[in-house]
Amino acid sequence: MNTDRPIRLQTENVGVFYGSKDAVRNVNVSFRSNTVNALIGPSGCGKTTFLRAINRMHELTPNTRVTGKIMLDGQDVYGSDVDPVDVRRRIGMVFQKPNPFPTMSIYDNVVAGLRLAGEKSKVKLDETVERSLRGAALWDEVKDRLKAVGSSLSGGQQQRLCIARALAVEPEILLMDEPTSALDPQSTQRIEDLMESLKQQTTIIIVTHNMQQASRVSDTTSFFLIGDLVEHGATEAVFQTPKDERTEAYITGRFG
């Protein structure tokens, strides 16, 4: 684990409730700057629920409540003086299913977040489109057809477009919710390759079902089980010398 890097995000006793049911309990974890952090665990373990608590996406679902603190650079994103819109600008998100805006061009998709933030300068928008698409390793494939609609791309390209769209606003954290589960192996490979370069510019927290993926791409791994964070540590350590026997059972494939 790159212990020399500063802590970017730290959670204190985070819990998430759907109505009266607690889906996630007492999560205390920290993620360092410019690292890739994997959240793993069987279906329904709360890893996606926890991920969505980080950028306050749960507020869109009625009867959902988040407790505890999530400190981004020392400031609680749930603080009373913090605007959730602002939080979501600083913490980007890529979803399980590629979801480009189907009526917008590739160009407009990439700058959507910037336009929402009020950016109007054509020069700045053009720059951002190229930088973000290069960042998402999509520039060479689409530079000649930036005016084409985003949904004309293949699934893997659409997901990289969504990554570019998230990168365009230069997020401090990039949340990825099983970003390759809807993609073919080749597209998955490209996105995994991409993560190594993405962490130069941001901090990634990725939910994945795929343990090989977690071990390939991440610096740290957090293992969730039935709403509890069972184990968190350097990926190598978690996979090779897990401290908890439940972690060992999961990564050796005895359940999940």
Binding site: M93, F95, P102, L116, R165
Partner: protein
């Protein structure tokens, strides 16, 4: 090894199939033949009106049955004015209602409101007409008078172009609102989340993600409303004033294609008069077909291509 694929049963089964197909084709043909037949009948019976007046039937404004002049442009214009005016009033209101129901209101409020709006669509148009005469016109007459006096128009009598637009707007709101609500609800949640995750506010999510995605369907609802507004007869006849001339201003009495047919058919004494009314019916049919055809093209172009 020989594959054992179950064969479709021959004999009585396939004969029954053939009979069923014949019945279906026959029933479907009846619909087609009927549609074709009444287009032809309208054209044939209206043909003499076109023959007498030529293009003047559609572009001329002299409608004077007593002296045998039948030029229908004022009514064609009346249909367009009332329909477009109704859309201008109805679309923003219907869209606002559908957004409220689909995006803002909690379920306990959204469901009854949606039900009430749909109920409006079930009211017979003669009832709308009565409501127009006894409620809408008296209620808006002070505004009409104020408008006329401030713009220097002749004093309004109540029934007229404006009253027809307003009543039609009320009548088509339920159609547009119900369809818009349905298509807005069909916008995938991941589209909303995509916008939220970029830091969009609720209104920005609607503007950037929801409305663009739903635009083709909303337009479909608007076209349905337009079709209804173009064809609506009874309620319009009751509040438009039935003056056989081009309206002088927004408030003056005039007529539409459908209202002139409805209000004159009983008294149409001469064959020329009858054929002119049927000719208007034919024009109305053509207008309705063209509107539908254009709508299909526009909707197809606006429909978002599928994402993965």
């Amino acid at each position: 090894m020989k594959a054992t694929i179950p064969q479709p049963r021959r004999g009585s089964g396939s004969r029954a199939d053939a009979r069923f197909q014949a019945v279906i084709v026959a029933l479907a043909s009846i619909v087609l033949v009927t549609a074709l037949a009444y287009s032809v009948v309208l054209l044939l019976n209206g043909a003499s009106a076109f023959g007498r007046e030529g293009l003047g039937f559609v572009f001329g404004s002299n409608w004077d049955p007593a002296n045998g002049h039948f030029q229908a442009f004022p009514f064609i214009a009346g249909t367009f004015f009332t329909a477009i005016g109704a859309l201008v009033i109805a679309v923003p209101l219907a869209l606002a209602a559908s957004l409220f129901i689909a995006e803002y209101a909690p379920d306990w409020l959204a469901n009854p409101v949606a039900y009430l709006i749909e109920l409006l669509a079930a009211i017979p148009s003669v009832v709308y007409g009565l409501w127009g005469i006894f409620v809408l016109i008296p209620a808006t007459l002070p505004f009409q008078k104020w408008l006329a006096s401030s713009l220097g128009w002749s004093a309004p009598i109540g029934p007229g172009l404006f009253s027809a637009m307003l009543l039609l707007a009320v009548m088509i709101i339920p159609f547009i609102a119900a369809i818009s609500r349905d298509v807005i609800k069909l916008v995938p949640n991941d589209q909303r989340e995509a916008a939220f995750a970029l830091g969009a506010t609720k209104w920005e999510v609607i503007r950037y993600a929801v409305l663009p995605y739903a635009r083709a369907g909303i337009l479909g609802g608007v076209i349905l409303g337009l079709g209804r507004a173009i064809g609506e007869t009874l309620a319009v006849t009751m509040v438009i004033g039935n003056a056989n001339r081009f309206p002088q201003n927004l408030l003056s009495p005039t007529a539409t294609m459908s209202s002139i047919i409805a209000s004159n058919f009983g008294e149409a004494s001469s064959p020329e008069f009858v054929s002119s009314l049927i000719g208007i019916g034919f024009v109305l049919l053509v207008v309705a077909l063209v509107v539908n055809f254009l709508a299909r093209i526009v909707i197809a172009r606006l429909t978002p291509q599928g994402t993965v």
